[in-house]
């Protein structure tokens, strides 16, 4: 595992379930029990209708590539080669920022709308980061 010397997330009471899930290998989303809207980032109310009646559930971990850049500016903590910074659309609807891993960091390998699946990268005892790789099969 690469040494993590970069800033890591500090969970808040409202986001703790998400980061607990990542540590346990689950991508957790929230949805509204009245209007059924799924949303991200976490918050204890529905951003679509304002209801506080929301639940946490395990997402499929499936996503598609919405957009990205390949960062060429120095980031020694990400290694010495350019790396992707991407936004993916989760199967359940919400979007999240991530890195696309386990594939070449090139425009030819990173095709918009390609199918992806979540994988978790352990950064510390508390934090694992959700990353995405090309879907198998």
């Amino acid at each position: 595992m690469a040494e993590y010397n970069r800033p890591l997330p500090a969970p808040t009471p409202e986001t703790r379930h998400f980061w607990d899930g990542c540590r346990e290998g689950e991508l957790r989303l929230q949805r509204c029990t009245s209007c059924r809207e799924s949303y991200f980032p976490p918050r204890p109310f529905c951003p679509a209708c304002g209801s506080r009646e929301v639940e946490v559930y395990k997402a499929s971990g499936k996503a598609t590539l919405y957009s990205y850049v390949i960062n060429h500016r120095p980031r020694p903590d990400f290694g010495d080669v350019p790396h992707s910074i991407a936004v993916v659309t989760l199967e359940e609807g919400p979007r999240m920022m991530t890195n696309i891993v386990d594939c070449p960091q090139t425009p030819d390998a990173l095709i918009l709308d390609m199918r992806l699946e979540v994988t978790f990268e352990k950064a510390s005892d508390e934090i694992s980061l959700p990353k995405f790789r090309p879907a198998k099969g």
Binding site: R6, L8, S67, V69, V87, M97
Partner: protein, 380 residues
Amino acid sequence: MKQKTVAVVGAAETTEMGKIPNTSQLMLHADAALNAMQDAGLTAKDIDGIATAGDSPVEVAHYLGITPTWVDGTSVGGCSFMLHVRHAAAAINEGLCNTVLITHAESGRSRVGARRFARDPASQQGQFEVPYGITNPPSMFTIPALRYMKTYGVTEEDLAHVAVVQREWASMNPRASFRDLITVDDVLNSKMIAWPFRLLMCCLVTDGGGALILTSAERARDFPQKPVYILGTGESCETPMISQMEDFTTSKAFRVSGRKAFEEAGIKHSDVDHLMIYDAFAHLPVYGLEDLGFCERGQGAAFIREGNTRPGAKLPLNTNGGGLSYMHSGMYGMYALQESVRQMRGIAPAQVPGAKISIAHGVGGMFASSGTIVFSNEAP
């Protein structure tokens, strides 16, 4: 907003621009403010309203010796000054103050007395974006572009054209940081920053500042400079996280702010003689042209590539050279406003002949916020 009831009577940038290693950020505020006060024939004693962003308006007011009855510290990124103009116009109309000073300064390059930029790891961005390697605007603001390019068949060459046209304008401006003409190949051969963005598609990092002085249109006639009237204003915001933008091919904040400004001004797109769109990166003018309604969705890049925004063409855009070639100290919105005021006064280095209506449209953060001001040089 009531039309033509408020005017710009003082406008100036810092004495020097570009690299100013011998001046602190606070003094850059003061330098711009003193220049604007001289332009308007005023002193600090005549100012009763103060607004700035990034730094505290308290700090700027005290440093200059201003005792305000109206204070605005709205700080939503590089378009904050558009919002200040909007809020100041409302405040003047409401009688909260008579004469407002708006300043911007940033020691963006030399970092003399400049704030340190840090994101709290417990903030939403700190938790859900920073861990993936975003460092600064070149690795954030650029992320939506690829989706736009795929949706509308826009190419890297198209983005390069934006930089090429703006350099044409900059070549006419003695104060521009970069004035040598460039080609599409020059842009496409410049250093890769964050694919698909290359160095010449990204804004400069410089030192500088600017200041504006506003008062009622009624009083404006008695000032030494030709008044520049405010016809309409708009503002909005969308999200602090680029990843949570509703649609990567269009900015909701741009659309809401732009529509409001057009409605207030009661003008049509064909009335607009001169346009400034904050260009932190080459895709921004493309989004701006579409979201403000000057082009159909997907047509903005072709509009620029076909030469419609060049010197002498039908819609002169970013006539100072823009953030790509003129200057960008961190919050460029002030320089877009300054160029609109120069164009309306008829004194711009690349003056648009006979221009009567100018729009300055700003972005804050990474498509996070927006402000739009419609100016006119025609008296009420």
